[in-house]
Symmetry: D2
Subunit: 382 residues, 4 copies
């Protein structure tokens, strides 16, 4: 019976931000060890990074293709690969590892178009590989609590959803010329690297997944007004949504809303109650039953559901943040993989991490919003 796993990483050299978050989060419960890597296209940076993490020379690879093949061939090869590279490369790298049967944990968005996403899903199924797409907010304890409460029927049937993800960091692009934008800001606004959408793709997709995860509802159609402010990709979007149960709602995402740093807020209204979660203060959940006082649920308390408690890392009142949300994704992912490698059967709740299916839904959502935007906010089915 194995107690720990080996993993490799593509991307994430020493100066890369999100790559380090992955390594730290993966190490939280001590059950996964970084063993191989292709951290950078720059050979010197790649080698230096591997050395810093005390990797064997033969586990530092010049290309992800070589890494996929070599690790798959080793008896002590990696159990999974973490892909933390720019959006435009996710598809090819994921495909290379899946082809070799290696389990994949990939940053979001999964890839650029629906056909790619469907191919990755197909390939994972064919090769028997597990696949996690890192929608990190679903790792938050109180998002899990919201999901548990809604599943249990505490707020009744969902009749309205109001969710937003607001940031201010690109507001200067509103007044900038087109050329300036791509230069001034990051690859996120370069279609060649980011794909067909900036704002909806980057943060709108988090709204889509977080609401889907909490409510279990599927989106039927969207009517989206995207604002480009003269730039090649969208910076602001106001979106009417319709769910498969007939309920409506609004998703607003923006990178030009001054005063908001990383303002993901989800409010779900039902026939019996309502739930509100605010990412910037993620350790509480506002729960109101019809006609009753709003209750402030605190992570880690005795009244929290078993589903959420299973991911509790610190006592109540001791804030968990982004690393801990990531760590919870890894906790579920590593737990499930250990069952897989040990040949144990899965029980309900064992795979509480976002999958390739969630990644595919994200790609569909982004494409529907962009198409609706082009049609002046006409409804587009997902």
């Amino acid at each position: 019976m194995r107690e720990t796993l080996r993993y490799g990483q593509v991307g994430g050299s020493l100066d890369a931000f999100i790559g380090a978050v992955h390594r730290i989060s993966a190490s939280f419960d001590g059950r996964a060890t970084l063993t191989a890597g292709c951290f950078s296209g720059n050979a010197e940076k790649n080698r230096r990074c591997g050395a810093f993490f005390h990797l064997g020379e033969d586990r530092i690879y010049d290309s992800y293709e070589a890494m996929a093949q070599a690790e798959a061939a080793r008896a002590d090869g990696i159990d999974f690969v973490v892909i933390s590279t720019p959006n435009s490369t996710h598809y090819e790298i994921a495909r290379a590892f899946l082809t070799e049967g290696v389990n994949v944990l990939c940053e979001k968005p999964l890839c650029f178009d629906v056909a790619q996403a469907e191919e990755l899903r197909r390939l994972a199924a064919e090769k028997g590989a597990m696949f996690c797409v890192n929608y990190s907010y679903s790792g938050c304890g109180m998002v899990k609590e919201a999901r548990a409460l809604i599943r249990r029927g505490v707020i009744g049937e969902v009749i309205n959803v109001n969710a937003e993800y607001l940031q201010e960091y690109l507001v200067d692009d509103v007044a900038a010329g087109e050329d300036t934008m791509v230069k001034l800001s990051s690859w996120r606004k370069d279609p060649a690297v980011a794909g067909i959408s900036n704002c909806v793709g980057d943060i709108g997709s988090h709204i889509e997944h977080t609401v889907a995860y909490m409510t279990g509802l599927k989106l039927r159609r969207v009517a989206a007004k995207l604002d480009y402010f003269g730039q090649p990709l969208d910076l602001n979007a106001n979106i009417l949504v319709e769910f498969d149960n007939g309920a409506h709602g609004v998703y607003c995402c923006s990178q030009v809303c001054v005063g908001h740093m990383n303002g993901l807020v989800v409010r779900v209204f039902g026939t019996k109650g309502a739930i509100e979660w605010v990412q910037e203060n993620p350790n509480v959940l506002y729960v109101t039953l019809k006609g009753q006082p709003t209750q402030i649920y605190n992570r880690g308390m005795g009244y929290i559901s078993d589903e959420a408690r299973a991911f509790n890392l610190l006592p109540s009142g001791h804030p968990e943040g982004v690393y801990e949300a990531f760590a919870n994704i890894y906790r579920a992912w590593i737990g499930a993989l250990l069952k897989k490698v040990n040949g144990q059967p899965f029980a309900a709740g064992d795979c509480d991490f976002p999958t390739v299916e969630d990644g595919l839904n994200g790609v569909r959502f982004i494409h529907a919003c962009v198409e609706s935007g082009r049609k002046d906010a006409a409804w587009v089915e997902l």
Copy 2:
């Protein structure tokens, strides 16, 4: 030079809620005295109400028509009439007093359709009567501060607006049958009394006016998804809006959102900053400049603009509420009327109250939303 005014009231007998709010608010600065009234269609209640307020017998009227004519004919007749009756009667009563040249302060919504509203506007102009429509939130000091800051360019050009007005009090109607609804709840949901819309008409129109007042922007078109949940009038609406400067936004109004009592929230985002006002905590204003910390403005402090300070009733930290917002509408209204009756010229800012024009815009907004709702959220011009 007169220092005080006489007014009369139609509606507002002793057991009526909003009628009393008007009387109290009108009395805040001691410059207006209730002198005449037609408080109820019930003669006994009408008389009793007049007596309670020590009115002369000849100033208590059986009908608003009689009141309009008699008061207009007296040398010591009322200087203005307050109309605080159900929505369906506003038009006729306002017309009766305007016809006699009496100044009118009318509860919102002004009336049922655009043609009526335009007629009232025409009549007021023709007779030289002043006309106030009581969009009370524009009386709040911090709404005035928001307006002053935006006018002064503090947040730059407006590029996105996110506003909502959420209540929970009709959530039980979602599951009720159609007949039940009208019975269970108030006249607000009876089309014969409330007009073509319940939720948009009652509270959506407050969003429309408050945003217009703060920003000075006009709505160009709306795309509204209204939810009826099987009832004759709407209970929930999610609305995409487009302003005359090309900016977009979202208005959400609902009476089925558990956890919200009277949740009017307006957030205006500009190229240089943003402003947020929350009605349930109305004495503060959140102001953020690009890249800077959010600032919590407090009513009554030295840094508050002259425009808002002119309506400050209490020192900072001493909460003002709904009565004070109403009182500020009356303060501006009475101040302006005193200038009129004394033949003084108006200066800028002398008429800082909502007018018949605002009332007309409200009626247009309601109609556009209902029409868009019928067309599955297609855009409708105002």
Copy 3:
């Protein structure tokens, strides 16, 4: 059976702030009419004020002594007098009216020393006069809700109290010289007018009464550290308190705490739960039961106690503020006086307003704190 009352006012001429608040608050439910007054020592201002309020010439008095005698002698004399003058004059004016048997509503603090307070209490009892001291915060609906919940045992036995009243408006006095202070600031810091304490007297006394009203506990002793910063009266005080049930707590009051406008906050901790009320957001109450989520009670909701509901002026979510708190004091006061003048018996809860007894307790508290302060925070019994 009389339905309305007549009242007179001492102090409160047209340019006085708190006097106007009294008149507006008294008029909220239409049951009290201003009938007589001695508004100012300045004869011209006094007369002008009376005229503005349409008082009869013979009801405008040059001195409070004359007013007390004349009104007591009239068949249609005032039913009560409102005293809204500087602190140093309360005692003499109240005594004059009590001597004539006139009911008195007096601003707080009641008077300067314990002997005076005890004499007023004795005189009121002897003459059968009712006496209200305006500790206005006990008029707030959610303070009444806190009281009702604590009485009902919801939070168990009180084991700790943490209350504060913080303001910033005198912070500049910390660096000023002694002479400057009295000049720069108001009469509040002049011992001849304000009495032996500034900060504890003005706002500390509100903590004392609000906690006493909510909890029903009596203070046994205090250990107070008062900071004078070189000024003749205190500007800051940190106070350990002990209640008659053995529980301890802390009261902090300050006029030099930047960032706080009128920050009265009361937190009461019991063996089963806790309650928190924040004056600057007075329409909610935070209630937590042991091991449970904090609940945000909203004024006006169905779950609110009968005791608090009796003083509800507006629907939930429509903020009530300071005028409404004052109006609730008047509502209880006028209701009780109407019973008295109509010879009706009092029922439980009929006299829910602060009395001369509360005023006496306030004077005792102020004196104990000042004495403890002089003794370097040694314990002083009340």
Copy 4:
């Protein structure tokens, strides 16, 4: 030039909570590797823990004495030891490692009495060993920002401090008998393990250090009322404090305050401004300048000081929590140790972690409070 360090741990076997927090936090920037340990007195647990972390057999020790000697003797011995054992053992373990010249990072409180603390300080100086006491809250970015702002004079001279640390988790002990308490609850209330104080020792000491760190002020004396509720150690304390600059304040700590999970709140008031930090929402800081709006500072923004930015782990709006605070202590500690082992000179700010001196101050504070408590809150000098 070494880039990474080796460390060992005493305490912290696999089922120990805080020990794991140390390991995760130490690994955040990849510069420290767990190399040796004596994780448990239980040999089996100890060995299993070492194996889980892939330690060499010869680096897993049966006793901390053996570990201290063996590691000090090795050329590749540990660079520092982490002590995460119960309070009662800190002193002996720290002394053992210091005696061998090993650098020590010890959980708080440092030890039980002032003499012990002074000996550890002397020993560290004598042996040239560095010594960190883990007052973790001083690792929070916004606590560092508060310190930077106060140092820079932004709030002027400190004139009042109001700080509290409230929890509810021992409220049931109030009603329990003495015997029950020790059994029901943890070692924290057993004097043999926890020392002379429970509540002041465990959480009051965090107030003391956090305020000292932020303000740079030293405590001159305290007047403390401790509540035991029949238990052997204190559960609640209200404390008047006096600083060396003459300012006063209040510290309140409690484990019986329902509604508070881990409520450390520090408010520092100065002649020019004020600062407030709330541990449960640690990524913001409330900063108010006299007469100005309160500003909500956000961790990670451009306006944040260099001192705080140096410890920023995530972009603004992405919450950091307790692990990140710990990680920042380690970041400073490891950075300083690397300079030491590489023979580099220290620059200003290089040792931004709590030292043995801070640990000594903490022990002094606890003793002064307990002594004052025994004397009915008489002042006791530190």
